[in-house]
């Protein structure tokens, strides 16, 4: 099993949710986060004083899937989140040792 983590632009969340549902993914965890990459932040002006605001609002998605679904998930997120401009975000994938469904106690891929 793998966990796919993606940090995307907040306004693309709905699109990503739809492409993921289209790829047969029915669960995800979403967090509001702040961050920056090469895009850096943005400029704000108050009473003529200009400030560089480093952290832009982002959304972080976490999806745990069986190994053979990883490519589909990555493709769905890439399709849904892309605007072809700087700041679209990143995806990374890590192995998952165990998954347990709390209600039934099922373990492994059955719990996904």
């Amino acid at each position: 099993m793998k966990i796919v983590v993606a940090v995307i632009k907040p306004f693309k969340l709905e699109d990503v949710k739809e492409t993921l549902e289209g790829a047969g993914i029915h669960g995800m965890t979403v967090t509001d986060v702040r961050g920056f990459g090469r895009q850096k932040g943005h400029t704000e002006v108050y009473r003529g004083a200009e400030y560089q605001v480093d952290f832009a609002p982002k959304v972080r998605l976490e999806i745990v899937v069986d190994d053979d679904r990883v490519d589909d998930v990555v493709k769905a997120i890439t399709t849904g989140a892309s605007t072809q401009s700087i700041g679209d975000g990143k995806i990374w994938i890590s192995p998952v040792e165990q998954v347990i469904r709390i209600r039934t106690g099922e373990k492994g891929p059955d719990a996904l």
């Binding site: 704000e44 002006v45 108050y46 009473r47 003529g48 004083a49 400030y51 560089q52 605001v53």
Partner: protein, 436 residues
């Protein structure tokens, strides 16, 4: 006594009172979220503290019978003889107590204006002591000089309709003294000191604009043509100020900002304050516009000269007050108010302008020197500034044990702090107490 005048001044007093909560929101929105309550507190608590002190001692020092042109005597200590009968020397058509209460509201907002300068780093105890003493040693004498019969600036013939010198220049120069004594916030000129809620600031601007009608029109002390004229001048000052600042923004930043428009409205209101009852509508537009443009430039001075005036009390109230006081000497017109004088453009020559300079100079010197000395004294005794750790934490939690915005319900109840029950009262266990 005139019932119409009395009704009007009672309402005007309530309008001026409402400006202080408006100021609390105006300032509260401009600080970082960790300091929102401490900032609001410094305006709201002035309503409590100054109201009481005004009755006890402030009013008599400001408006008691004159002693040497400098201060009032103690005839009105504790509002003694301040009742329903008008005082002919102060306001002949309204109860003396209405005049004294109207003036109370001015005395409240003036020290509250200063708090914007030292926002985000002042100790609450230092603020309380400062506000109490400043009211007595700076505000009361200034109000006496300018507004009380026998006060030397009033006798000189300088004009200040609703408080350009007494309120705005006085608070603005005291703000400069304050930031020089207390020093910069940690990270000033480096970190992003960004307003946390400008919607709050804009609401505060609206309340200030609304309350200012009481401030300026009420200063006619009667429901009459002069009040109506001052009412219009007030609105035009705010309006033109908003336009002026927006123009500077559009030229300099290539966009208009809501904080600029809000600040411009306040700057225009400050500038029109001394002139409101002496000028017609067109000069009022000119004064507001110049106030907005000049203040939009002046708020940049703190970065150039390196003083940390957190919320631009110097840039808006001192500079806007100076613009208004001096332009009163230019635009004042006897055709608007026969108790005033003709300024430069109304054919009065430089006479009035010269008097305005004297009044402004005296205000700057007196308020700066006394405020500076007062703050040094408080700094050496109870202290002015929170610790560096408290400043980083935020004054809300560090000074008041509260937060403005709570996003967590995690935690547990510890102790109910209850007032000691009076003798014989039933002891109610904390777990059963229903509170009030």
């Amino acid at each position: 006594m005139d019932t119409g005048d009395t009704a009007f001044i009672l309402v005007a007093s309530a309008l001026v009172m409402f400006m202080t909560p408006g100021l609390a929101l105006f300032y509260g929105g401009m600080v970082r979220s960790k300091n929102v309550l401490g900032t609001i507190m410094q305006s709201i608590f002035a309503l409590g503290l100054v109201s009481v002190l005004w009755v006890l001692i402030g009013y008599t020092l400001a408006f008691g019978p004159d002693v040497g042109g400098f201060i009032g005597n103690l005839d009105f200590l504790g509002f003694k003889d301040v009742g329903a009968t008008p005082n002919d020397a102060l306001a002949a058509t309204i109860p003396h107590v209405s005049f004294a209460t109207f003036q109370m509201m001015f005395a409240i907002i003036t020290p509250a204006l200063i708090t914007g300068a030292f926002a985000e780093r002042m100790k609450f105890s230092g603020y309380v002591l400062f506000t109490a003493l400043w009211l007595i040693v700076v505000y009361a004498p200034m109000a006496h000089w300018v507004w009380a019969p026998g006060g030397w600036i009033r006798e000189l013939g300088a004009l200040d309709f609703a408080g350009g010198t007494v309120v705005h220049i006085n608070a603005g120069i005291a703000a400069l003294a304050a930031v020089l004594v207390i020093g910069k916030r940690k990270g000033f000129g480096q970190g992003a000191f960004i307003p946390h809620n400008l919607t709050m600031t804009v609401l505060g601007t609206g309340i200030l604009w609304f309350g200012w009608f009481g401030f300026n029109a009420g200063s006619a002390l009667g429901a009459n043509g002069l009040a109506a004229s001052a009412f219009l001048a007030t609105n035009l000052g705010a309006a033109a100020g908003a336009c002026g600042w927006a123009l500077v923004d559009a030229r300099k930043e290539r966009r208009s900002t809501i904080l600029g428009v809000a600040s411009g409205a306040v700057a225009g209101l400050v500038a029109i304050t001394p002139a409101a009852g002496f000028v017609g509508p067109l000069p009022a537009i000119a004064i507001g516009l110049i106030g907005g443009v000049v203040c939009a430039w002046a708020v940049g001075l703190k970065f150039r000269w390196g003083y940390d005036d957190s919320l631009d009390v110097v840039g808006v109230h001192l500079v806007g007050g100076l613009v208004g006081a001096l332009l009163t000497g230019v635009f004042a017109d006897l055709a608007i108010n026969e108790a005033g004088a003709d300024g430069l453009l109304a054919g009065g020559g430089f006479g009035l302008l010269g008097k305005q300079f004297v009044a402004v100079g005296a205000t700057l010197a007196f308020s700066f020197i006394v405020t500076y000395a007062l703050l040094k004294l408080i700094d050496a005794t109870v202290g002015l500034r929170v610790t560096e750790e408290e400043e980083v934490t935020g004054v809300d939690l560090a000074q008041h044990s509260e937060v403005g915005y709570s996003f967590s319900e995690s935690g547990s109840f510890t102790t109910a702090h209850q007032a000691t029950p009076s003798a014989g009262a039933a002891q109610v266990p904390a777990s059963e107490g229903s509170g009030i």
